[in-house]
Symmetry: C2
Subunit: 378 residues, 2 copies
């Protein structure tokens, strides 16, 4: 086991804020397990819906259970008329993460959680969310960009397939569907990261699931968290070839610039998810443009390792894979939401069983005991 | 200084999660200061807009500044046509906290924060929020309950007055306006409570103000946090007179039931805000119904002190004051939002200057290294 050093850029680094049976991360410096299963096994051997079932419902499904679960999810893709009106009212210029945040918040008005906060209720709501996110996001996307009111159903039997189908308006290839399964599995759960911790703090006050997920989306939006895969692509796109990338990145490193997409607050040796998504990115990069981007991404990763001994995290090659599937940059982090809602929901259930409110304290650095001057004399 | 004992019902109790110059709380067991000013002085000597200016803009205004600030706020009460459509789409059955959460989330789609995240931008957005919350909330309230599209302007020069005017459709009395000032001042800021901490965790990822406030509202909604003043009134309303209340509460205490509205995770001696709002509640309780409620509240407080040495917190007598102003139960916690958004916004600015992501760790209690059975064999 590698020794843990609290990171200066992270508040509460290494401080235990609660128990979890959902995820262990970074124990050996580079491992990740969901409910005891190695991420490498899950990414290689499962569809995303199996992992969603593992996190939300507690077990890996057998074939019959998986089939029935996927059918249930496929039936939960619809949007109410009121929801469509709300989505049509959101301007084209909005960030898609703000659209998803508003979607969840409005759904909490339309279909609030039952007052008893039962686990069955959380599971039902979480399933509906992961099933319908793509519908909401892409309904808004197409309406705001081209005033088309798309049908939010598809013949796809998977969440990733449904997303690609609604985005591109046609059936995606098996390779792309497989890539979505892997990507969604890798992003599903990661212990007490900032967005999951947000969901737990909200759940800790006795609040509802929709509030917890809304908060999680808000936290994930930041460039130091889920927004990183967007920044990663922006970095890669700055360059026309690997040599140019290398020269500029070396220059930026010598100017002490932080390069988003490398290093991790928890992993010390490598991010175990990176090689998995890198292989997917390599498989998907078959035309000139995507081969160029993959080459640039690979070269920057080599420079970061050679000069800083920093490894790429999940976000780095995810950006390459998404770009190869012609997913617009601003929809990258919303895919993270489709996936991580499984983890967030499981943590909400766990925090409720735990029963604690999360309330740290602060170190006061302001002035003491100021006399209040009446307004007439200020 | 009283000795601090971490509370078992609170995770991270007593653990420092960051610095603040905004608030010191419970240092002597029963004190509260905003930027160094004693809450008792602020509640007695200020209007809410002075305290909002102190928290959002950093200083107590002089007379000219206050006048100009109040005029600016009064001009920021409007809602866009798109926003009205969204509010009209929210069903009557929705919880008003979910309505406000959706309002803020949608406003973040309509008028997102500028990418530079300047403090000027946060201040502008925070002012708009506190000015317009009542407009959004009561537009929805009247439309969903009676299909009336109210005008969301009023001649009132204060946020509390604007709220009461839109709620009741007429000018409120000076006594009620004064009561709103005091109540809003008392609820404005409270260090690293769960909702403020939520806002800081969200801001720590580099996310935007609207995400942070949306998360804060979600956390505040819980009955262990802002939702407590609603529960407090529900408790008082169970009884027809003080004697009945005393008998039942004593019985519940002996059955180890937790009585919401008493005790506090930070204060050990008393909640310094309680006597202030209790005096307001006493002043407002002039007719038969409100005198009865006040009597019941007072008796339960006596029982709690005599048997458990537990003191009422701010929520307890706030419920009496709000009920005396004929504010519906479900609008209690939204008033908390109007007020606490000042503190949340100031904390967002502070967390950004601090520059840290907030990311604790967890104690893993699940199974280790499970072998993945292929789905065919499960």
């Amino acid at each position: 086991m590698s020794e843990f050093k609290p990171k200066k850029s992270v508040a509460l680094s290494g401080v235990v804020a609660g128990n979890t049976a959902l995820c262990s991360v970074g124990k050996s410096g580079n491992d990740l397990h969901y409910r005891g299963f190695d991420i490498k096994d899950l990414a290689q051997g499962c569809e995303f819906e199996e992992v969603a079932h593992l996190l939300i419902h507690g077990t890996l499904p057998n074939q019959l259970e998986l089939k029935s679960y996927k059918m249930k999810l496929a039936k939960s893709r619809g949007l109410s008329d009121a929801m469509k009106i709300v989505l049509e009212s959101i301007p084209k210029t909005a960030h898609p993460m703000d659209v998803l945040r508003t979607y969840v918040s409005f759904l909490g008005c339309e279909s609030p959680e039952a007052a008893d906060h039962s686990e069955a209720g959380v599971r039902e709501a979480a399933d509906r969310l992961i099933a319908s996110y793509s519908s909401a996001l892409l309904y808004w996307f197409h309406f705001s960009n081209s005033e088309r009111r798309i049908v939010v159903d598809s013949a796809e039997d998977s969440i990733g397939g449904h997303f690609l189908h609604l985005l591109h308006g046609q059936r995606p290839s098996q390779a792309w569907i497989k890539a979505m399964h892997v990507s969604l599995i890798l992003y599903a759960e990661h212990e007490f990261n900032a967005s999951t911790f947000t969901s737990r703090v909200i759940a800790g006050t006795g609040s509802d699931l929709y509030s917890a997920i809304t908060g999680g989306i808000g936290a994930l939006r930041g460039p130091k968290h889920g927004g990183a895969n967007e920044v990663a692509l922006e970095i890669m796109r700055r360059y026309t070839d690997p040599d140019e990338a290398q020269a500029d990145i070396e220059n930026r490193i010598s100017n002490k610039e932080v390069i988003i997409g490398f290093g991790h607050p928890v992993y010390t040796i490598e991010d175990p998810r990176s090689d998995i998504i890198k292989a997917i990115a390599a498989e998907l990069s078959t035309d000139e443009d995507s081969l160029k981007l993959y080459g640039i991404a690979q070269r920057i990763a080599k420079v970061m390792w050679d000069t800083k001994k920093m490894f790429p995290n999940l976000d780095w090659f995810s950006a390459v894979a998404y770009d190869a599937m012609e997913i617009p940059l601003l929809l990258f982090t919303p895919i993270f939401v489709l996936s991580r809602t499984t983890g967030w929901s499981a943590h909400v259930m766990e925090q409720r069983v735990d029963g604690k409110i999360i309330r740290p304290t602060a170190n006061y650095i302001g002035p003491d005991d100021l006399a209040l001057t009446p307004i007439e004399s200020r």
